[in-house]
């Protein structure tokens, strides 16, 4: 090879590699959310005063990456930057919440000032409190607009370490057209009904669509599976994994519902559901490849938006329950927290004030179908019209919380034990040979704490 041609071909190779990387990157972000163009980001109250004080500063926001979340963040940050002169760099966090936790833990333990504000999961305030700014002095008044329970969750030792941003609870998405086609008048209320219906619909639909599945959910070994499994177990009367400070996951009702789920893997649930996170669940359902899906409310907006194959063909309801239980939804949700190591705390707090204001929560609920943490916004007629899961019948479902309060800084480790074990069950190991191990490890972690 002559030297010139070597350089030439090296260039061609790099270019090809770059193209592949870029196309992967765009494919990953190419999710559309509902009507972001027609509903503009709300203006920033008191923008001129903020601009006079903090204009020209630059802050970094570690934000959303699931569904249309990143687009929403960009739209809001753009508006905020335009009006206040504070530049906001939006960095999407890893889609798996436990990976996002690791990223923040790394930054905090390194006392890094590279992150000014981050979205944190409802189970993290306890672990991150020492690294977060107390928002009470500046945002205490605004926090009173938000649901008291979430504010209490975000208040650690009297300090408001995070502001509620949007809420979450698990709901069941179902295909109204397919239920009708196969002779069902209403969605399932128990898991066994769901499996029966899923099985019948799947058998029929697979004749024309080989990749059709009855039921999809988040079965990957990650935080989302802890949320799903909590719903299964609690809805079957099997407790909340840890009750009154003791691990309770190893019980007959829990084992029964987990084994029932396991028996569906590769039948009504695709074999690959044990690798699914939220995005794969949403893809399968919105692509018309699933009859039922368990997901958070954000999926509603994407399913009802342009580009969805199930627009107008689906609805939502509460999740099914076990033979001796009642329907529940795992409490999820995200808060905005300001890093103690930020070099622009005041400018950042103004950004948080804007992002957690009623106008922005309404914008988020309507364009991105997230659950507002401000009760008056959640009752707003325009919001309920676009987000049927906010109807009292669904929104009043019993909420179950992950056992973060017993575990505090050890929550992430304990959750990993739980979701790894449940994932093992879904992948084929009977519950009775996995649950005792989870229970023992959980009790050990509870003791360490």
């Amino acid at each position: 090879m002559r030297p010139r041609s070597l350089v030439f071909w090296a260039g061609v190779v790099s270019l090809l590699a770059l193209l592949v990387s870029l196309s992967i990157a765009t494919a990953a972000t190419n999710r559309s959310s509902r009507a972001t163009a027609s509903y503009p980001a709300p203006p920033v109250p008191g923008a001129a005063a903020i601009k006079a004080k903090y204009g020209g500063q630059s802050i970094t926001f570690v934000g959303d990456s699931v569904g249309g979340g990143h687009q929403r963040d960009l739209a809001l940050a753009k508006k905020f930057s335009q009006q206040t002169g504070i530049k906001v760099n939006v960095v999407p966090h890893p889609a798996a919440s436990d990976a996002a936790y690791s990223q923040l833990a790394r930054a905090f333990s390194a006392k890094s000032s590279s992150i000014d504000v981050a979205m944190i999961d409802v189970v993290w305030p306890g672990a991150f409190a020492p690294y977060l700014v107390n928002l009470k002095p500046k945002l205490g008044a605004q926090s009173k607009l938000h649901a008291a329970g979430i504010v209490a969750n975000d208040t650690i030792n009297g300090k408001l370490v995070a502001m509620p941003w949007f809420g979450d609870y698990g709901i069941l998405y179902y295909r109204t057209d397919l239920l009708k086609k196969y002779g069902y008048s209403k969605p399932p209320t128990t898991w066994s009904q769901l499996f029966q219906m899923a099985s019948k619909i799947q058998a029929g639909e697979q004749k024309t669509n080989a990749s059709f599945a009855g039921f999809v959910f988040q079965g990957n070994a990650y935080e989302g599976l802890t949320c799903n499994a909590l719903e299964w177990i609690a809805s079957a009367g099997g407790g909340h994994m840890i009750d009154n400070g003791k691990a309770t996951i190893n019980n007959a009702k829990a084992a029964q519902v987990l084994d029932a789920m396991r028996s569906q893997i590769g039948k009504t649930a695709p074999r690959g559901v044990t690798t699914y996170q939220e995005d794969q669940t949403e893809h399968a359902f919105d692509n018309g490849d699933a009859a039922f899906a368990r997901n958070w409310p954000y999926q509603y907006g994407i399913g009802a938006g342009a580009g969805s194959k199930v627009k107008g063909k689906f609805s939502v309801t509460v999740l099914p329950h076990g033979a001796s239980g009642k329907p529940v939804g795992t409490v999820g949700g995200w808060q905005l927290a300001v890093s103690k190591f930020s070099k622009h705390k005041d400018a950042t707090i103004e950004f948080v004030r804007y992002m957690t204001s009623p106008a922005v929560e309404k914008f988020d609920a309507i364009t991105n179908s997230n659950v507002p943490t401000i009760p008056s916004v959640a009752k707003d007629k325009a919001v309920v019209r676009t987000n049927p899961y906010l109807k009292p019948a669904i929104a009043s479902v019993a909420r179950v919380t992950r056992p973060a309060k017993y575990l505090k800084t050890h929550y992430n480790e304990a959750s990993k034990v739980i979701y790894q074990g449940i994932n093992q069950i879904l992948n084929g190991t009977p519950a009775k040979s996995v649950l005792p191990g989870i229970q023992a490890k959980l009790n050990q972690i509870l003791k360490e704490k």
Binding site: M1, S21, I24, Y101, S109, P130, R271, N287, Q424
Partner: protein
């Protein structure tokens, strides 16, 4: 705090030329020039020694130190204490780590073997003269030029059971009747395939470099003597390629043993599908146990060192 594995560059830069018998005598006699040269050598080596000490020896030493403590990731949660061999005791009974060691060694054996075989074939092909050889050599490198995480994500989507192109093709060709979830049913095969796809070009390139230094006239002489292609390969190519082969095997084995990215992208924290590095990373960053995680890193370091010792011994024996 990160895991450290011995790298060849580190090993070669710490090695200083051993004084021969003659130089020792001279130095004892105190030849001025000799002393000055030795001093100069040390002086010139000093910057690199300092860098090595700073980037390799210090972190490695710190990891070893941390492995004897109960340090937690988010400082201030529990005060760090010296716990002696507690972490290593725990390690002996850690079935998750044990499984990861077995899996990683299996992965290494599978990938290195196949990568070597395919790489050698490709190297031999592109070493022969044909039209468009330059283009071939360049195109061959594309997989290697793609970042591993990007390649892994790409493969993950291609292997997906609902929208993956591989299932789609196989269904259209009637090779399978239902979509397969490759990464759940055949995890090791799937992850190995990605690593092989990505790394064969690198192996081929190293072997090609080895092939190109074999003088052409050896083959001419062999041909004159009536050796056929297979004889030429076994008697000339293979022995002369041996140094390149060893470099390839050492590089690839070390890389495969400390694999993280493909496993992390494919399986996350799935039990029974974690490489050693994934377990260590999860222990430190997700669980927050820096002390125990450091012990895992030391164990990984020792396991990888073992392979280095084996390879180096093989080379020595081969040289004698």
């Amino acid at each position: 705090m990160a895991c450290h594995s011995p790298s060849l560059s580190t090993m070669s830069s710490v090695a200083t030329p051993a004084p021969t018998g003659e130089t020792t005598r001279r130095r004892r006699r105190g030849t001025k020039l000799q002393r000055r040269q030795t001093r100069l050598a040390w002086l010139l080596l000093l910057p690199s020694l300092l860098i090595v000490a700073f980037v390799a020896i210090y972190p490695l030493g710190k990891t070893v130190y941390q492995s004897f403590t109960n340090q937690e990731f988010l400082a201030g949660i529990t005060p760090t204490k010296w716990v002696g061999l507690d972490n290593y005791h725990q390690l002996l009974h850690d079935t998750i780590f044990r499984d990861s060691v077995v899996l990683t060694i299996k992965f290494t054996a599978i990938t290195v073997t196949i990568e070597f075989a395919l790489g050698l074939i490709i190297a031999l092909v592109v070493n022969s003269k044909f039209k468009g050889r330059g283009v071939m050599r360049a195109i061959m490198l594309v997989p290697w030029a793609i970042p591993t995480v990007v390649a892994a994500k790409m493969w993950l989507w291609m292997l997906d059971d609902t929208f993956g192109v591989i299932n789609d093709l196989a269904l259209r060709l009637h090779l399978i009747s239902h979509s397969q979830s490759w990464i759940t049913v055949h995890p090791l095969a799937a992850v190995s395939a990605v690593d092989i796809w990505k790394t064969v070009p690198f192996v081929a390139l190293l072997l090609l470099a080895g092939l190109q230094v074999i003088p052409e006239d050896l083959y001419e002489a062999a041909a004159v003597d009536g050796a056929n292609a297979l004889q030429q390969f076994w008697r000339i190519t293979f022995p002369l390629l041996r140094p390149a082969i060893l470099v390839v095997l050492i590089f690839r084995s070390l890389d495969a043993l400390r694999v993280y990215d493909v496993f992390a992208v494919f399986f996350g924290n799935r039990l029974g599908a974690q490489s050693m590095a994934v377990v260590a990373q999860g222990t430190i960053v997700q669980d927050g146990h820096v002390g125990y995680g450091a012990a895992l890193c030391v164990a990984i370091f020792l396991i990888i060192s073992l392979f280095v010792v084996i390879y180096v011994t093989v080379v020595r024996v081969g040289d004698d």
